[in-house]
Amino acid sequence: MGKILMKGNEAIGEAAIRAGCLNYFAYPITPQSEVAEYLARRMPEVNGVFLQGESEVAVGYMIFGASACGERVFTTSSSPGVSLMSEAISYIAGAQCPAVFVNIIRGGPGLGGILPSQADYFQATKGGGHGDYRLLVMAPASVQEAVEMVMKAFPLAEKYRNPVMILGDGLIGQMMEPVEFPEDLRTEPSNKDEWATNGMSTRGDDKQNLVKSLYLDPTALNDHNLLLKSKYDQMKKEEVLYEPVNMDTDYKALIVSYGTMSRVCKSAVAMLKEEGIEVGMIRPQTLFPFPEKAIADAAEKSSCKIILSIEMSMGQMVEDVERCVKGKLPVSWYGKCGGDVPSPEEIMDVVKERI
């Protein structure tokens, strides 16, 4: 099949199907409602299910239930909807169930607005729900990358028995780009027999699988949290993804930027290069685990005077960047968080002003 032109939201829906996920539960919210619209038409064609929940709270627990039974399942929502799902996400992580959550972020806090934003960085990478859990978070910068990340998210969720989140700003959901789909994963087996409550007779063994997040015994709960921590440590070792841009130069400044914001920055880096100003860029593709080593190493470069965290949020990522840089260089923030995406010229001016 050749390339076709798809809106990010449509491509995300199709990618989930190609990853073998035939269960989609969701509640509509701008700017991601096209996923539901696309899958309402498409799921019946592949004998899949789209069920609209009565609210995002309900959807969160529908995901938990389906996942606990060993079904590949996913949902899409936008910021306030993800807040409502956060309790269930904590339960799902606690009960070690795989599931994929897509957040096409809108402006916040509260109802905010419907335009592009990255203001859910903390929500995605630092919790959102309660307890010591982490999500594996991937942030696509193009519609093609959204497809690839969604398709990768299901096997990763099963590998770690943990929810995976795709964090896209509104532009990722709304813009159209040519895409092609990687090899179909529909026939990939899942490891569900090891843990899902899918019935001993289905599995043909006599092991009872139990899905729960309640551990009243203090030692048992501590052990459980240590087990979860070991999974998050393993993610940090094995799942870090990032894209280096113009890093083989004597860059004077380093930009850290992700999602569609990074595409604006990439244009700015190219335009600055034409003016003789070298700027490096690291684009985290995974936000948790964060590309700690890459940023720490980049900060060692003697030509580099400043690090800029450029985001469509009010400096949420600065904390992670500072953590990596360990005070060796100043970390500065630039961004907008109302819906207007900064232009490449604006980023160029900021870089020139601060180097």
Partner: protein, 239 residues
Amino acid sequence: MGIHLTGIVILVGNYGSGKTEVAINLAVMSKKAGTDVRVADLDLVNPYFRTRESKGVLADMGIEVVLPPDEYMHADLPILTPAIAGMIRQPASLTLLDAGGDDVGATVLAALANVLDLKEVQMLQVINPFRPNTDTIEGCLRIRDEIETASKRKITGIVGNANLINETTSDIIYQGHDFVNQAAYASGLDLEFITVPADFIEQIDMTYFSCPILPVARQLVPPWIEPKSFVNSTQQPGS
């Protein structure tokens, strides 16, 4: 063989078929040819990439864009401004109505039936064969049927808009033309025109096509891409 549309022209089609790019570029071409043009953004279903984003560029050329009041421009809920009914009652030489995608986007037209029924109206289905749902003739006919049912109005012509945005090639333009030609034949309708990206006009064999061409300078772009200039897109090829 030019495009000579006048009166009220409604653009419909499935999501992402390119109605808005067609509307903007058709408005600019007609205006440059001396026609008085007004455009109405009837997209109540799409939150981004709407005609309203090109309001400034069009206004600078003397093309009026009829929109909801500024404070509702980014509203979650659909707003249909009463000015639309007014512009239909007293149309410009060319009045373009850019409807939303699919049958849901075309539903708004049924709400305007009382004013539209008093006028001669053309309703054109924009087709990009490189989009899901309109990659087969059956798909195009099904979308047509759904839009006609929702809008309570008949489609009168087909517009071909084959493209893969920045990955468009000459082959895509030729193949797309052949496909929409067949789709128009299967619909029993005329192929009104096809689009060709403005930067392809020089390198493409115009004698290949059986219909007029609308050169398109892409306007609805993400923030890291500059909108194309209209400079090269004002001349109708072959006219």
